[in-house]
Amino acid sequence: MELWFSEFHAPDVKHSIRVDRHLYSEKSDFQQIDIFDTPEFGRVLALNGNVMLTERDEFIYDEMITHVPMSVHPHIKDVLVIGAGDGGVLKELTRYESIERIDLVEMDPQVVNACRIFLPENASRLDDPRVHIFFDNALRFIRRCTDQYDLIIVDSNDPFGPSEGYFSREFYGICYNALHEDGIMVNQQGSPFYKHDADAMKRSHKHIVNTFPISRVYQAHIPTYAAGYWLFGFASKRYHPIEDFDPERWKKLHLETKYYTTKLHIGSFYLPAYLEKMLEEVE
């Protein structure tokens, strides 16, 4: 028997992964949650039929969304993470001893529970004493915060499901308000390749540009995401992602990484021409 998981990356494009075994399939109050084993990508978490992470390539996403801001801002103590119920981002963040507090706001407790059981490696740092988990709507949580965080990481689902509100102008506005005067917000910004994704990416970039004085986009190669090509937004009140980047300081931490390097840090902000043009259109 052949068992395949398929996901539409665009209306006329499908990405398929062979499946060994379907381990978990539940519908929570918010979404359909599936976890399955695959020969090529290892264990996979899918929400509403979209791949969120695979054991094989999750390091790229988690490292790039974490180490880029951590190596720019010299003293990050208070961090807010939105989404990320799988725990992957926490795994990277908790490697920094300088961080004192990590608040994690996840809307769906069932994602966290499922990941604790089926993705224990990924979820291994959910119980770090610095981590506080809040099961809440992020808009609701953040709008109560003013001047509280050095870094906000928005690790949300795509902008077409229950996370749509995390790509809105009001969301970026309340994040701005929740950050200290030198705070940074990093978000997953989708893919620029297929039209549907590109339009959403432009919309959210426009909102961020209108909210933060510094707003830059950087990129990574993530095989299981649409077009294998993914973007992150770097929005900041004071620090520039390259001009204020201090590679030597970061190197002294001796953090071993599989994707992120200090050279790649700078390179990831150099974008292809078509993407530069797309971003300029809305800036």
Binding site: L139, R140, R143, G165, S168, R169, I174
Partner: protein
């Protein structure tokens, strides 16, 4: 009520069922509409979907006829009457405007007086233009702090009835656009004691019939007719509506009045949407509206916690001109953050991609319904918090809305059809208007045909224009000139 052949209950939806059967019969259409189940208009079919256009059909025996319902439409009307506690219900396809018009045309003839609050929807006064009845306005009180017009005081209605014992009907907003209710039971009693009909504009009151803890519905209060916008809180398609009548109204005569102006090609899309929505309300209305009320209460708490805004609710009730308040209505007073409601309304749409129902001088209204989800509510509340953070300013100099007592010089019909001339609005003080001026939404006239134009009225219109309200009603689309009596 006529005797139908079949015994039906609220789990059924006769028009919907007949359309399903009709689809299965694969009848060959040599009748109108000419698109022939969509085949003749592939672009339209691609846009609306084949399922939709295939039931856009004409009246025929198995599907009944809206102008003279004897089978499935009649059955759907019976079920609607039962669900709403009315003696008779009419499916309407010309919007609640057509229901309001039918109420007025049923109750009034040329020259008859009808008692009503001035903050009626323009469709009421339009009906007066059609039939030649004369409005006797009751001053709806205005809330001083909020600047919204309220319900009618019992004493004011009583005085109007006493001063005009020859009036034929009293019309009541149940509730107003903002959700404010008058003491409907008392008004029904006073009207009936004086031999008058009581008519209710329930454009915003569908859910009163199904939700728990709602203000009293017109049929339960004993009113004679009610215009119910099923397409607002009831969930049916835009332009569909219900007209309800009580036991003392001749349903056959009402049907004749409806047929004076109603299309003879009633849309089955609209009628089936009424049928399906009625079934949903009858079976699940209680839970549906409990959810809406919970969301509205939550939003009120969250918005009031932001500071500056005032999302008002039942605490306004005073036992008289705010006899009750619709708990599903999310109205927010914005003047304390230094912005007019209409400015907040525009910012929400232009910068946050959030469309709310309307904004006026001092307030906004976000319409909550069975289609809302908590995550969108969080966006609305957060956007309001952001607007406060980014735009808050001193509220000095912002106008509060005052009730301007209209000076009615002649009936709306006389003024509308009189010899008239067009003059610049600024030069019209002292003249008698031949047309409407209003902000739309909410569509409540600032000036109606037959009323004298005063400086207060012009000041208000210009202020509304500057703040960005969309002014409508006059022949001159720019609303710079106005037709006045020659």
């Amino acid at each position: 009520m006529e005797q139908r052949k079949r015994k039906l209950d609220q789990t059924q939806a006769p028009i919907y069922e007949a359309l399903n059967t009709f689809r299965e019969m694969r009848v060959v259409p040599f009748d109108v509409p000419g698109h022939k189940h969509g085949k003749g208009n592939p672009e339209l079919t691609a846009f609306l979907g084949e399922k939709c256009v295939s039931i856009d059909v004409n009246s025929m025996k198995p599907l009944d006829n809206l102008c003279h319902p004897v089978s499935v439409i009649g059955e759907a009307e019976d079920l609607a009457a039962e669900a709403f506690g009315a003696a008779h219900a009419f499916l309407m396809v010309g919007g609640t405007t057509s229901s309001v018009q039918t109420m007025v045309l049923t109750a009034c003839k040329r020259g008859d007086k009808i008692i009503m609050p001035r903050n009626v929807h323009k469709s009421v006064i339009n009906a007066l233009v059609l039939c030649g009845a004369v409005p006797i306005y009751v001053n709806p009180e205005v809330h001083r702090g909020l600047g919204i017009s309220l319900g009618m005081r019992r004493e004011s209605v009583e005085a109007a009835i006493k001063a005009h014992p020859d009036a034929v009907a009293v019309l009541v907003n149940n509730p107003t656009y903002y959700g404010v209710c008058s003491d409907l039971s008392a008004i029904v009693e006073m009207a009936h004691a004086a031999g008058m009909l009581c008519l209710a504009d329930e454009a915003h009151g569908t859910h009163f019939y199904f939700g728990e803890g709602m203000p009293l519905s017109a049929m339960r209060a004993g009113a004679d007719m009610a215009a119910v916008s099923m397409h607002k809180s009831g969930g049916s398609l835009t332009q569909s509506s219900l007209l309800l009548t009580g036991p003392n109204v001749n349903a056959g005569y009402v049907r004749q009045i409806i047929n004076l102006t109603q299309t003879t090609s009633g849309s089955y899309l609209l009628m089936s949407s009424l049928d399906i929505s009625r079934r949903n309300l009858a079976l699940r209305g209680r839970q549906v509206f409990a959810r809406v009320v919970a969301m509205a209460n939550y939003a009120r708490e969250e918005i009031n916690a932001i500071g500056g805004y005032y999302a008002f609710g039942k605490e306004l009730c005073d036992g008289n001109c705010i006899f009750d308040f619709d708990p599903t209505k999310l109205s927010v007073h914005t003047r304390e953050i230094g912005l007019a409601g209409i400015e907040v309304y525009d910012i929400l749409r232009d910068e946050y991609g959030i469309q709310i129902e309307f904004g006026d001088i001092g307030n906004i209204l976000a319409y909550l319904s069975m289609g809302d989800r908590p995550q969108e509510l969080e966006r609305l509340v957060s956007a309001l918090a952001e607007i406060r953070r980014r735009y808050q300013k001193d509220s000095k100099g912002l106008l509060s809305q005052e009730y301007i007592d209209p000076v009615v010089v002649m009936s709306p019909q006389e003024a509308f059809y009189a010899n008239k001339k067009s003059v610049p609005l600024a030069n019209s003080i002292g003249e008698v208007s031949s047309e409407f001026v209003m902000c739309y939404p909410p569509g409540i006239p600032i000036l109606a045909p037959g009323e004298r134009i005063t400086k207060d009225i012009l000041d208000y219109i210009e202020y509304a224009r500057v703040k960005g309200c969309s002014l409508t009603g006059s022949e001159d689309l720019s609303v710079r000139n106005i037709n006045v009596l020659a």
